[in-house]
């Protein structure tokens, strides 16, 4: 399964856009199978977008499970750092 962010929203800029993406990610995680998230044609992602699209996954799944199932491809260093740092931070706060 491949989730093309650009097919769902025009950009990764707002929490509202993240809220549109989240159900797709939740459905993909629910299958238990590996899946791919593509940021092709998306240059940047704000913390608001990542907070709305990815962080809620950690309310149901462990960070380890998310890392095992989800591959992020055709992305940029900024987007990858934003996703990685936010999820790492939230998982650390939950463990504390």
């Amino acid at each position: 399964m491949v989730i093309q962010i650009r097919d769902l929203v025009p950009g990764a800029d707002t929490a509202q856009q993240g809220g549109i993406v989240l159900p797709q990610l939740q459905a993909a995680m629910a299958t238990g199978a590996p899946f791919v998230v593509s940021f092709d044609h998306i240059q940047t992602a704000t913390s608001s977008f990542v907070n709305a699209a990815f962080v809620p996954l950690l309310q149901i799944y462990s960070f380890s499970a998310v890392k095992q199932q989800m591959r992020v491809v055709k992305s940029t260093r900024q987007i990858n750092e934003m996703i990685r740092s936010r999820l790492q931070r939230v998982s650390m706060d939950a463990a504390a």
Partner: protein, 121 residues
């Protein structure tokens, strides 16, 4: 390169004092940039925006950020140990709302490759 962003809202100190009372305007600005602190002005805010800005600009050594809000002027610079330090500036003026001024050293900004990358956990 200088970038400035302004709004005419309540101002950071007023919003911060809704959560943490008895702070001066400069103290409130310094509180506002702490990672995880949020006034929840928008549901879902995680208190990361200003912290992220400071880490990206000041923490990486490519510039400085100055926040003007109400009676506060606070400049954020990188110290000799690489830490982000606030420097309140004596102020006799007043900024309605908030203005954030970002000064970037364009000669120090890393040129990232255009190639797409896969996220490595």
């Amino acid at each position: 390169m200088d970038v400035s962003i302004a709004d005419f809202g309540l101002g950071i100190p007023a919003k911060v004092r809704e959560t943490v009372k008895d702070l001066s305007d400069p103290q409130a600005v310094i509180q506002a940039v702490q990672e995880g602190f949020t006034s929840k002005s928008t549901p879902g805010n995680a208190g990361l925006g200003l912290d992220s800005l400071l880490k990206t600009v000041v923490g990486s050594g490519i510039g400085e950020v100055t926040i003007y809000s109400l009676h506060a002027i606070v400049r954020f610079r990188s110290g000799t140990n690489g830490q982000i330090s606030p420097f309140p500036v004596e102020n006799v003026g007043f900024c309605p709302g908030t203005t954030i001024e970002i000064k970037l050293r364009t000669d120090l900004i890393e040129q990232l490759p255009d190639e797409r990358e896969e996220l490595e956990w």
